[in-house]
Structure formats: structure tokens, C-alpha cells
Symmetry: C2
Subunit: 361 residues, 2 copies
DNA sequence: TATTAGTATGTAAGCGCTTACATCGCAAGG
DNA sequence: CCTTGCGATGTAAGCGCTTACATACTAATA
């Protein structure tokens, strides 16, 4: 028996050494086994001392803690994830980081997650659907404990992968009665509708829109739909030539204004799909000598910090990006912690009246 | 022998079932073993078919691929990482996502990484040093294959952890002769110095600065140092009252101008630590009726997209954020792929002359 | 004092992969 | 026809953890 053990140990040792050479690591990093040996306890005790301290006597707990420090032990996340089936990692795929509003949400999301010991895995889709599918697949492969998606508009494959993997997910930013996953956001359409109500109240009758690109973007679509709904509600015509969709940049906003202006009966007010487009409209108007709000009323969407500094200050809609980010993180953590189901939730998106809107002359 | 095997199998089966109940998974997800069984090959062949396709005959490769599809097999990243000691994951800790310039770099970094099959793990430090240490520790625990840090100013613990873990790292954004890790960025000081040269050429003698917060921020410090160096070079005094440091917001920029203006001999030109502060200065000047550039010249730093749309358009310094992001990603991937060492690199940061600077009256 | 609960440890079986090494064929060379 | 060699597969040993279960104690109860 003793001999057998010795033999086994030798074999093990040889294997270890081989492995070591293979991976090329010079000084092997310590493992639970090393800590256990050094502290004179079992690996189970080490694991418990680290993960559920009160299941271990104070004496051993301290001894383990000391050895951990002495040897500079760093647990292996991969091994832990494999053994426990939990990675303490949440994944997200966003269209781009390069957008202040998403960034604010993701920032808040990450911070909340981090406070609960989770790490955020960020991937970017660049508004490319196949790429998005790929990114979700990778996140799932990586064994994320949860997933956060922006908006409700995602390829069917994405939903299927999420369902098959039984990975808790939350979609932010949107608002929908029957989302494929719980949805924490706000009612884009209602917010846009409300802004148009305001314009109509001011006497505007020819209202145009420079919307964001709606393909694969339910927020942009909802905002546009809200505008059209409001117009219909007030018995105003939806003139196709007064609606245009543009990508996200000041210059495209400028183009948008140029386009609407080319119509025989140009609008007296323009609702924009986001603040960047709205600013573009303002810049173009300024360069053309069109006075805002005297000649043209403009409303943005997002309430970027800079909009309050412009002159005239932009009337816009506040997007609750930080609350959304925090709420989503909390919802996922709660689900992971005690199984409380993730509830859809809608935050208010207040209308921020400033100086770019005025009664029609 | 046969009986023994049967016995073993039973034990295994019982264990499996127990485990299954423990993890609570309803329908077990398929593993390599399932694919191997279904395809009538060994697990090794499955692994090879998936990871190094040309080591396997076309026939088996296809059979495996088919079964993978049929069973909806998704490899486990954790198991793969544990067994291969590679996670195909790169970590980064940035001060905040909520900053267009970082976002642009991270975006480019992620995209490049993704193209090479790596996933980006983003964490945020919120400019908090202990928190940064914690985040680096977590990334290392997660077994990232590489690390990207912003700037050169990091707690000693961070450097030590990186060194101990032997994890390849790159610091971006800065520029230094003897960095602790390779550094891909640009020379902030030289860029700022160059801008001041320009101001001096225009005849400015009283030049102030609204700098970014320099604590724990080598970029802000370098920019300030560059300004002071330029002043000294031209034999101009560095008047402490004409230098102020402010956090990152338009309002702080406004405060900065207010502060410099309260000096008996206010500056005729102000160099700003970044564009947001510069815009704040411009907004405050506008509200005070100070004409830019007639009464005051202003220079920003970063070249945010909006700066070209302002009137007057902001003179600023272009930061090569996208090249930096791409180069860092490529450097790390190259190191991981064929061991080519990561080289420090400095990109040019061109001076963008626009309309906020003018000869002193 | 014998018995019963706990409570604190230890033992060892996996988690799902990768990969060193052993085998097995088969084609080419002697 | 028998080696030799090499590419294609299989075998099985880990990777570093977690955790169900067994065991050893201790203290309280009968």
C-alpha cells in the first residue's frame, strides 16, 4: 500500500513536471493544494475558509488567510467557474461605446455589478447583426451568469441562444408589452409623443422629424412612431417628405435639416431622434441664418450635458440612463442571489423644456 | 472485467445524477463527450476537429461539425481555460466609460481584439485607486490573457500584481521613457508645448491654463508640464494664479475661466487640459460678453467631434485614440500569438488650428 | 454514562475541456 | 513481402477548484 502510494506520487510528479514545461510557467503559481499543505489543512477547508468563512473555525480561517498572503495565492477563476458553475461575470453587447448615453448606462451598470462582486464583460456589435450573434455566442461560451442587451430588436438567433442557455437576461432602453426577456427602460414612443403635444400646443402644424436610423433599432423606431401617433392624434398629416432618418452625427443632423428645408412647405418645428442630430440641425440653422426658436423650433432627445450649455439651450427629453443601468444590474444580481424574477420596468423620461421651442409666428 | 466496468459505470452514473440535481440544470447541456459519442469518435478528436481542423480528416471533421450543430453544443470557456491555460480574454480597467475619448479608444481596442477572437473584459475604476487595485486583481483571477491600462499612473500594487502574474500588459495614452510596461500613446507634454508655442507666436504673453485634475492622472500632469515648459522656454513667467485644475465638466470649465479672470492681470490666452474644459471656458466667456478670439484665445485638447461645430470652432489637439486602441490590441494579440514583444509606441498628436486663437490685440 | 445532535474537518469525485503519449493503419522503400 | 515512417485517432491524465458525503469531535440531553 505504501509502495503503491509512492509509485502514484512519482507518476503524478512526473506528470506535473511535464505539464509545467509544457505551459512554460517558470515558478508555478500556488494552488489551493499548496495553501492546504502550508496551512496543514485540507483543500476543502481552504476553499471554505475563502468562500464561506463562518463555516470554518477562526483559528483555521486565520491560518489559511496568512498562508494565502504569504504565498501570494490568487484563485483561478476558470477552475472556480468550472467547479461551481458560476462565473460571477455578466456579459453585455452594446452597439458602440462611442455614445455618451449608452456609456452612462453601462458605467452605472458596471459600477453596481462591481459592488456585488461581479465583473462586466463588454462586447460591441457595431450595429452589425451577425456580429451581435457572434458576440452573444462568445459571452455564453464564456459562461456569463447573466446578459444585458440594449433594446428589444435582436436577431432571432440571439433569443434562441439565450433561451437554450437558460441564462438570465435583461434588455434595457426599450419598453414593450411582450418582450422576449424582461425589459428595463422607458417608453420612447410616449416621450416623443409628449414632446410633439407640446409643439402642437405652441401652434405648430407643420412638424418634421430628423429621426435616428430605425433599422434594427427599436428605440429609434419607437420615437418615430410616437411622433406619428401624436400627429395623427391631433389630426395633423404625416408628410413623408418631412420625415428623414439619419445616422448618429452632427453632420447628418445638418443634412437632415437641409433635406426638410428643401420641401415646398418646410416645417416650423423639428423633432429629432436624438440630441446629436438636434445639435446638427441647430448648427445648420445657425449657418443658414435661420433663427431658433424664432424661425424654427427644435426638440432633441437624450439630454446630453452639453445641450444645456448651447444658446439657445436645447429643449429635449431626459433619458434615465443611470437609473436604467443600476436597476438592470440590481435585477440580475437579485435573480442570481435569491432567484427573485427579473421584472420589466419603465422609468419616466421627463420632457426638459428649454429655449429651442416657441410658439409659431 | 466486464462486471467491473459495469460497476464503475453505475457509480459514475449515480454521481452524475447527483451532480445534476445539485446544479439544478434540467436538461444537461451537451459536452465534448456527448459529441464524441454521437459522432462515434473520441473526445480528443472532437477537440481537435474544433480547434485545429486540419489535424483531423475531412470526414470526421464534418461528422463532428454536424453533431455539434444537431446537439446545439456550446463549448465551456471555463473548462477550456482551465485545461489550456488560455482564456482568449483581455482585461482593461478604465477610469470611466463616460468619456468620449476613452470610449473611442476602447471601442477600437475591442473591435480589433474581437476580430482576432478575443473578448474584452471592461472594468471601471471611477478614478479610485483602491478600486482599481481590486479590479486588476479580479481580472487577473479571471485569467485574462492580457491587460490594458490607461495611463502610467497606477498604484504600486497594480504593477506588482502584473509582474507576479506575468500577464502581458500595455499602458495606453501616455508616453514615458521608462514605463513599467510598454506604453502606446502619444506625448501629451510635447503636444501641449506645441500649442503654447503657437500662442506665443501670436504674441500672447499672459497665458493661463485650466488643466484637468492631475492627481493620479499622468496625462493631465504631462499636459500641464508641457505648458509650463513652453512658457519657461519662451522666458515667460509661470504665474500660479493663472493655473487652475478642474474636474471634467463644462461647468468646471466655466469656473476655471471665472477664476483666472479674477486675477489682476487676466490671461489673454488660455490653454485647456481638455476640450470639455475648453468648451466650458467658451460658454462662460460667451455669457460674460468676452469675445473669442478677439478678447481671449482658447485652445482645447482631444478634438471631440463637436469642437469643429462650435462658433468660433475650437482650436485644439487631436488625440489619436483610434490608432492607439488598434495598435494596443494588435500588440497584445501579436505577443500572445507568436511572442513578439510589445513595443512602446508614440503616435503624433496633431495641432488642429481653428478659430479660437488669434494674435493678441 | 450512553445517546443524540450538531459542528468542524477531511476525502475524493467530479466540472468539461486539452494534450502528451500510445496505437493503429497504410503507403512507400528495401 | 517485410520494414519504416508518418499522419490520423484514441487513451487517459490532468487543469484548480467546489462540494456531497463520511468522519471525528464536542456538548447537551436523557
Amino acid at each position: 500500500m505504501l509502495m503503491k502510494m509512492t509509485g502514484d506520487n512519482n507518476i503524478t510528479e512526473v506528470a506535473r513536471r511535464t505539464r509545467r514545461r509544457r505551459t512554460g510557467a517558470a515558478a508555478k503559481k500556488p494552488t489551493v493544494a499548496d495553501i492546504a499543505r502550508a496551512a496543514g489543512v485540507s483543500t476543502a477547508t481552504v476553499s471554505r475558509a475563502l468562500n464561506k468563512p463562518d463555516a470554518v473555525s477562526a483559528k483555521l480561517r486565520n491560518k489559511v488567510a496568512r498562508k494565502v498572503r504569504e504565498l501570494g495565492y490568487v484563485p483561478s477563476g476558470a477552475a472556480r467557474a468550472l467547479a461551481s458553475n458560476r462565473s460571477f461575470t455578466i456579459g453585455t453587447v452594446i452597439p458602440t461605446l462611442n455614445n455618451a448615453i449608452f456609456a452612462a448606462s453601462v458605467d452605472a451598470f458596471e459600477e453596481t455589478l462591481s459592488r456585488h462582486g461581479y465583473t462586466l464583460l463588454v462586447t460591441v456589435s457595431n450595429y452589425d447583426r451577425p456580429h451581435e450573434i457572434e458576440q452573444v455566442r462568445r459571452l455564453l461560451e464564456r459562461g456569463v451568469d447573466g446578459l444585458m442587451l440594449i433594446g428589444l430588436d435582436h436577431p432571432e438567433e440571439v433569443w434562441q441562444m439565450i433561451e437554450r442557455s437558460a441564462c438570465p437576461a435583461v434588455a434595457i432602453w426599450g419598453h414593450n408589452d411582450k418582450p422576449r426577456v424582461p425589459c428595463i427602460g422607458f417608453d420612447n414612443a410616449a416621450a416623443a409623443e409628449h414632446a410633439v403635444d407640446h409643439l402642437v400646443e405652441l401652434g405648430h402644424r407643420r412638424i418634421g422629424m430628423v429621426a435616428g436610423l430605425s433599422f434594427g433599432n427599436d428605440r429609434a423606431r419607437a420615437r418615430r412612431a410616437g411622433v406619428e401617433r401624436a400627429l395623427a392624434k391631433h389630426g395633423l398629416p404625416v408628410v413623408p417628405a418631412l420625415f428623414t432618418e439619419k445616422a448618429y452625427s452632427h453632420d447628418y443632423g445638418r443634412d437632415g435639416l437641409t433635406e426638410l428645408l428643401s420641401h415646398g412647405a418646410p416645417p416650423t418645428a423639428i423633432m429629432c431622434g436624438n440630441d446629436v442630430l438636434a445639435m446638427g440641425v441647430m448648427f445648420e440653422a445657425r449657418d443658414r441664418g435661420i433663427a431658433i426658436p424664432d424661425d424654427l423650433s427644435v426638440v432633441g432627445f437624450d439630454n446630453l450635458p452639453i445641450t444645456s450649455q448651447l444658446r439657445p439651450a436645447l429643449t429635449t427629453i431626459e433619458v434615465p440612463s443611470v437609473p436604467i443601468g443600476m436597476a438592470s444590474a440590481n435585477a440580475i444580481v437579485a435573480y442570481l442571489t435569491d432567484g427573485s424574477p427579473i421584472q420589466s420596468k419603465s422609468f419616466p423620461a421627463p420632457f426638459v423644456m428649454r429655449a429651442t421651442t416657441q410658439s409659431v409666428r
